[in-house]
Symmetry: C2
Subunit: 343 residues, 2 copies
Amino acid sequence: MTTPPKTSTKALPPGAQRATSHDVARLAGVSQSTVSRVFRDGASVTQATRDRVEAAARQVNYRPSRAARALTSNRSGMIAVIATKPSHRAHPEVLYDLGEEIQAAGHRQLVFVLPEDRVDVATVHDILSYNVDGLISCAVLDDDAIEACHAARVPVVLFNRESPAMPVASISCDHGAGLHALFARLAAYGTPEITYLAGPAKSFVSASRLTGVREAAAAAGFAIATVLQGDYSFDFGRKAMTELGGSGVVPRILLAANDAMALGAIEACRRDLGLRVPEDVAIVGYDDVPQASWPSFELTTLHQPVRDMAAAAVSMATARMDVPEFQSEVRRLGATLRLRGSA
Amino acid sequence: MTTPPKTSTKALPPGAQRATSHDVARLAGVSQSTVSRVFRDGASVTQATRDRVEAAARQVNYRPSRAARALTSNRSGMIAVIATKPSHRAHPEVLYDLGEEIQAAGHRQLVFVLPEDRVDVATVHDILSYNVDGLISCAVLDDDAIEACHAARVPVVLFNRESPAMPVASISCDHGAGLHALFARLAAYGTPEITYLAGPAKSFVSASRLTGVREAAAAAGFAIATVLQGDYSFDFGRKAMTELGGSGVVPRILLAANDAMALGAIEACRRDLGLRVPEDVAIVGYDDVPQASWPSFELTTLHQPVRDMAAAAVSMATARMDVPEFQSEVRRLGATLRLRGSA
DNA sequence: TCAGGAAATGACTTCGTAGTCAAAGACTAA
DNA sequence: TTAGTCTTTGACTACGAAGTCATTTCCTGA
């Protein structure tokens, strides 16, 4: 398995300490205060001194210590992001999207990968001990946890989640328009009845999608024949569809709470049941993962604007950083229908 | 698009400052030093005082400030991870894997999402300004950049990359055994010739896979008929295969530098060329992404042990944190053959 | 040329914890 | 009991930059 590690050692240069503002000050012939001012915005420094200081700083590779800065100004330049293990299934790139946006906003992303889909006060206190300037959570936060952030004046943004009780800033997805368009389209099949493959019961996203589907179906005069509770996996979609086929009740229209299950169902139709999509079964997913557009699948799905949601989350967080009073806001970006071959 | 934001404001409790070690000390009737000792490991405190201090700390939700701790002890409890934009294509879950391992090791993951696949000294100095305890890079680092980390006594681990010149710790993938097994299998087709869909020229991973394939092919008596330079995308794989088919030279065996291109090639065979896989064309990928095992594709591929590599990277980093002298080590985990239907 | 005001700069203190050192307390052996 | 060792504790300072305030410098207009 492992190549026998070729290990070698090498002595390090001895006096390799990072330069401080005092070092730069001495080198540039100014005071430490002045060096500090050069590296702070809104400071008033002569262009000449600024040049001298910057030259000196460059010479010794000086960068202000974030730790020291955090201590005095209470701003660390970091935004914490809570990500849960299962959350990466549908959109593994979320951390990259958020990371880019955070970076672009001049901050850094401190990631906490946590096992559970619910985060408590203890975790938040740990996060707060890093003096983060903001918190974006892809997990559900306890009311206490949110309260703790508010008390510490750290803006919180819930990502793809909303808090039912606590007032808090959140960015999530509005299913309304997309689902409306979808059902308008599905009406063409002449069978106003759907089968729904839902996500896990306790998941916020799952619940909100189910609600959205129920409302849109009702509005469009559709009945929901069956709701099967799944786990967002390809395999579940495949098995569920196979079982439906085996029991003789093949749905005319199948909606899934995410793309993986929808793709699994398509597989089941083709491989296991010998059914054609969309001629025999129309199948619709949710998310618009890259594979949805692959020619093998051509999955009609609801596109969730993850990238835009990430940008919104970061801008909501940064906007609140300098505002002393807490601001609640429920923001939703619309999901759009991606009409492809499967329905 | 956006729901009219229901914005409400709410006054914050006034004296909501985070508790300090002094507060806890006062509450517990001890000195600040003692509080500090309780929250440090290897300290010597009586059980009785420890209990009192911990009770007081719990009462006011005290956690030591990481910023202050970083300032005095020069340990921030964070490991920086450099991730590049394109790197997420094959294994978007890397940040989750690394994140979990880092968390398990008692540290936090500070993510830098950067556009380029090459990182210079300036970036590293920025990273070092956060006082990180280690750096795991999924991007190529300049020699200067590595040098800067060494000088700052911050252990560096290159992830899925190796540095040709600089001595450094790295964890990457050994293609040897897996490719050997693959070619042994491919010999059954009786056509000792392959076509290879490579990755981008400047990419380290791409280059190392190409080298691996060349060596294994030579060892097994295979010729490489064509090498096409791709971009790791599904679309490129599909187009490349279609063009090969259109020009009349359909390869008997096609190897791709990643799964996405291989899957694209399978698509092209089925949809565009009417060829059967593996009867007409045998196709092999690299990575073992989830879709490779989907019944639609059944892609034979080389599995890259990302999870294990993440664990190794973190343990290599943490192991070096308390060691004063720098230790170089080239560690490789073997890719294993996942034999499925496509070859 | 000089007064008045704005801009630039430096001395000093602060942030919250870790570590150093010395003092006090507990315990052991004779 | 007493000297000697080990453990526990507290006073004090360092860490590196930011902010406060006082001082100096630079301009402007009369």
